[in-house]
C-alpha cells in the first residue's frame, strides 16, 4: 500500500472504514433484535412480533424513532462533555475493528501489535463513560460513572493477564499469527482457565449483567446515561453492542481458533463463533442477579487476579519444562 499515492490510499482507507461501519450498524441492529428475542423466550414471552418477520424490522423502526427525537440537554449539564461523551464511547468501541480478522484475508490491517492495539483503544471507552456521568449534572449519572471507572479499570487487569499465556505460547501479538498457531488445537484446550477468566472479565468490561452496576436499572435508574435521549442515547447503545462484539471476537481469535473450521468459509465460522459467545453473554444476563459494587471489586482483585497470575506461572513452568 505504500506504493499508492496518498490520495488513493486515503480513499481506500475511507472505503474500508465505511464498510466496517456498515457491518457494525447491521450487526448491532441484528444483535438488538436477537437479544430481545432471546430474553423474551427465556422469560416465556414472544418479544417483538409486529414489525417485519417476527419483529425483525423492529430495531430499524426504533432507530428511526430515536433519530427523530428531540435533543435534550439539561440545564445543569456540562455541555461540551455531555456532547462529546457518546462519541468517545462509540469511537473507542469502533476502533478495534481495524485489526479484527473476519477471515483469512478479510482484515482491514493486520497490525503486528494487533492484540495490544485492540486492548488499548477499547479501554478508552471508560473515559467517555465517565465524561457522560460527570457531564450530565445528575447524581445517579455521577454514581454510575464512578462505578464504571472503578469497575473497568479493575477488570482490565485480569483481562490482560488472562491473555498473556496465549501471547507467551505464540510469541506474537498479531491476530492472524495467533489464529495460525491454532491450526490443529484450539487454545481453549490448553488454557481453559484463561478462557474463563477472560470471558468473565470481558462481561464486566462491557458492563453486562451480572456486572452491570454502571447502569444498575433498579438502583441508579439508568446509571451514566440517565440524562441521555435520542441519537446520543443510541450511540451508547450502539457502543454497548459493538463492545460485546469486540470482546467476543478477541475470545474467538485467542481461544476458539478464529475463522478456522472445516467445510464452511472462514467468515461463516468466524461469525458463528462470535455470535455464539454473544448468545452466552445474553443468556447470562437474563439469568443472574447483579453483584454489589464491593463484591464485584473483591471478585476481580482477590480471586480473578491471583488466579490469572497463577495461570501465567503454570504456563511459564510448563513451557520451560517442554523446552
Amino acid at each position: 500500500m505504500m506504493d499508492l499515492p496518498f490520495i488513493l490510499n486515503f480513499l481506500l482507507m475511507c472505503a474500508k472504514a465505511a464498510g466496517l461501519l456498515g457491518f457494525v450498524s447491521i450487526s448491532v441492529m441484528f444483535l438488538i433484535w436477537w437479544e430481545r428475542k432471546i430474553s423474551a423466550h427465556i422469560q416465556s414471552r414472544l418479544g417483538p412480533m409486529i414489525v417485519g418477520w417476527h419483529g425483525a424490522l423492529q430495531t430499524i423502526a426504533d432507530t428511526l424513532k430515536l433519530l427523530l427525537k428531540e435533543n435534550i440537554v439539561c440545564r445543569e449539564a456540562d455541555k461540551l462533555t455531555f456532547w462529546l461523551a457518546p462519541l468517545v464511547v462509540f469511537v473507542a468501541s469502533f476502533l478495534p475493528f481495524v485489526a479484527i480478522p473476519f477471515s483469512k484475508n478479510l482484515i482491514a490491517q493486520d497490525l503486528p501489535l494487533g492484540l495490544l492495539y485492540i486492548l488499548a483503544v477499547s479501554s478508552v471507552g471508560v473515559i467517555g463513560i465517565f465524561m457522560a456521568g460527570w457531564g450530565s449534572g445528575n447524581k445517579y449519572s455521577l454514581l454510575g460513572g464512578m462505578r464504571t471507572a472503578a469497575q473497568i479499570i479493575s477488570y482490565e487487569i485480569p483481562l490482560v493477564l488472562s491473555i498473556l499465556p496465549i501471547v507467551m505460547m505464540t510469541g506474537s501479538l498479531s491476530m492472524n499469527t495467533i489464529i495460525g498457531a491454532q491450526k490443529n488445537v484450539w487454545f481453549i484446550c490448553y488454557q481453559p482457565i484463561a478462557f474463563l477468566i477472560y470471558f468473565i472479565s470481558a462481561i464486566a468490561e462491557v458492563n453486562r449483567a451480572p456486572f452491570d452496576i454502571a447502569e444498575a436499572e433498579s438502583e441508579l435508574v439508568a446509571g451514566f446515561h440517565t440524562e441521555y435521549s435520542g441519537m446520543k442515547f443510541s450511540m451508547f447503545f450502539l457502543a454497548e453492542y459493538t463492545n460485546m462484539f469486540v470482546v467476543s471476537v478477541i475470545a474467538t481469535t485467542l481461544f476458539l481458533g478464529g475463522w478456522q473450521g472445516p467445510l464452511l468459509p472462514g467468515i461463516a465460522w468466524f461469525l458463528l463463533k462470535v455470535y455464539f459467545l454473544i448468545f452466552v453473554m445474553m443468556w447470562i444476563r437474563w439469568t443472574f442477579p447483579r453483584l454489589r459494587v464491593d463484591q464485584l471489586m473483591d471478585f476481580a482483585w482477590k480471586f480473578l487476579m491471583p488466579l490469572a497470575f497463577l495461570n501465567i506461572l503454570v504456563t511459564a513452568l510448563v513451557m520451560a519444562l517442554i523446552k
Partner: protein
C-alpha cells in the same frame, strides 16, 4: 524528641484528615424510581457508596381513605379497602367485612366462609409471588424471575376474574358473605392451579439456593433483630423471618382457619434472604389450606340475610386479620347510623416501612434496594 512531637500531633488530630475536602452526597430515591414499589421517596445521605442516613418520605399516594369512609355507607366502603394494599385486595375486603360483621354480631353461612378463606389464601399466594419476583428483580435479575412469578400469578387472577369479574381491585366480599357464588368450574380450576403450581414452586425452591450471586447479595444483609422487629411493631412475614412466631390466623383465629391444619414457618436470622425464604415457605402453607378447603365447600347460600340498609349498633370494634403483609386492623366506631363515625386502618406496610431507616445505616446503595424489596411494602396502604 521527634517521637514526642509526633504523638502530640496525633493527640490534636482525632480524625485522620483527608487529603482533600469531602462532602456527603444527598440522593433522592424516588418518588420516580424503578424500584421504589410505588411512589416512595427515600432521602439518602451517601458517603461514596455507603449510606449514612435515610429518611423515608411518604404521602404521595394519599387519598384520605379514613375521612372518605366517614361519608360512605358501610357497604360503599368495601371498594375503597381494595385500594389500600392493592396486591392483597381480597384480604383487605376480608378484614373489613369481618370487622363490621363482628360489630353487628352477624353470623355468615358456612359456604361463604369456605369461599372467603380459599380466595384469601389464593390472594396471599398471588401477593407473595409478586413479592418474591419483584425482590429478585430489584437485585438485578432483570425481568426473568418477575415474569415467571407473573405467569403463575396470572392463573390466580384468571380464577378471580371468573369469580368476581375483576383482576386487581375485586370488591368481592360483602358484609355477610361474598357478592356472588363461585362459578361451577371454580373447584376444578383451583385444583388445576395447585397441580400446576406445586412442581413450579419446587423448581424455584431448588433454583434459588443454588444461585451464588443471589446468596451473596441477600445473606447477612439488613438483619432485623427480634427485639427491633417487636419494637417497631413489624408484623407478617417480616416478623416471622426475625424469629417471632406470630400469625393472627393462629394467634387469634378468625373465620374458619382453626379447622385447617397448617404451620407457621419461622426463621431466626432476619436478613433479606430469610425474608425471601419465609415467603416461599408460606406459599406451601397457603396451598395446604386451599387443598383442605377446596373439596369441602358445603352447599348453601353465599351470603347471609342482611338488611338492605346496614345500621350497626352504636359501639366500637378493633378487628385484626393476617393480610399478606402482616397485621391488618380496622378500628370502627359506629354511632348507630348508616355511616361509620370513625374508621381507622392499621396498615402493616406502614409499620414495616418504618424500620428501613434503621436497617440501611452503613450498607451500600445496592443493599438499600435489596432491603426495601425484602420488606415488601405496598405504598397504597402506607399513604392510604
Amino acid at each position: 524528641m521527634d517521637l514526642q512531637i509526633h504523638t502530640e500531633n496525633l493527640g490534636t488530630q482525632n480524625k485522620p484528615q483527608a487529603a482533600f475536602e469531602t462532602e456527603d452526597f444527598e440522593v433522592s430515591f424516588g418518588p420516580q424510581h424503578p424500584s421504589t414499589h410505588g411512589v416512595l421517596r427515600l432521602q439518602l445521605t451517601l458517603d461514596g457508596e455507603v449510606v449514612i442516613g435515610c429518611v423515608p418520605h411518604i404521602g404521595y399516594l394519599h387519598r384520605d381513605f379514613e375521612k372518605i369512609c366517614e361519608n360512605r355507607t358501610y357497604t360503599q366502603i368495601i371498594p375503597y379497602t381494595d385500594r389500600l394494599d392493592y396486591l392483597g385486595a381480597m384480604n383487605n375486603n376480608f378484614g373489613y367485612c369481618m370487622a363490621i360483621e363482628k360489630l353487628m354480631g352477624l353470623a355468615i353461612p358456612e359456604r361463604a366462609d369456605y369461599i372467603r378463606v380459599i380466595i384469601a389464601e389464593l390472594n396471599r399466594i398471588a401477593s407473595h409471588l409478586l413479592a418474591v419476583g419483584t425482590f429478585v428483580q430489584d437485585l438485578g435479575a432483570f425481568g426473568t424471575p418477575l415474569l415467571y412469578c407473573f405467569r403463575e400469578r396470572e392463573k390466580i387472577l384468571d380464577i378471580f376474574e371468573s369469580t368476581c369479574g375483576s383482576r386487581l381491585t375485586y370488591n368481592y366480599y360483602r358484609i355477610g358473605g361474598v357478592s356472588a357464588d363461585i362459578p361451577a368450574d371454580f373447584q376444578k380450576k383451583v385444583k388445576e392451579f395447585i397441580d400446576y403450581f406445586k412442581p413450579k414452586l419446587k423448581e424455584y425452591e431448588d433454583l434459588m439456593p443454588l444461585n451464588a450471586i443471589l446468596l451473596v447479595r441477600t445473606k447477612g444483609i439488613g438483619i432485623l433483630s427480634k427485639e427491633k422487629a417487636l419494637a417497631y411493631a413489624v408484623t407478617g412475614p417480616n416478623l416471622r423471618a426475625s424469629g417471632v412466631k406470630f400469625d393472627l390466623r393462629k394467634e387469634e383465629p378468625y373465620s374458619i382457619y382453626p379447622r385447617f391444619e397448617f404451620d407457621i414457618p419461622v426463621i431466626t436470622t432476619g436478613d433479606t434472604w430469610d425474608r425471601l425464604r419465609i415467603r416461599m415457605d408460606e406459599l406451601y402453607q397457603s396451598l395446604r389450606i386451599i387443598e383442605q378447603a377446596i373439596d369441602n365447600i358445603p352447599q348453601g347460600e353465599h351470603i347471609a340475610k342482611v338488611p338492605k340498609i346496614l345500621k350497626p349498633p352504636a359501639g366500637e370494634i378493633y378487628f385484626r386479620s393476617e393480610s399478606p403483609r402482616g397485621e391488618l386492623g380496622f378500628y370502627v366506631i359506629s354511632d348507630g347510623s348508616t355511616k361509620p363515625y370513625r374508621l381507622k386502618c392499621r396498615a402493616p406496610s406502614f409499620c414495616n416501612l418504618a424500620v428501613i431507616s434503621d436497617l440501611v445505616k452503613g450498607v451500600k446503595v445496592a443493599d438499600v434496594i435489596a432491603i426495601l424489596g425484602s420488606l415488601d411494602v405496598v405504598l397504597g396502604e402506607i399513604d392510604r
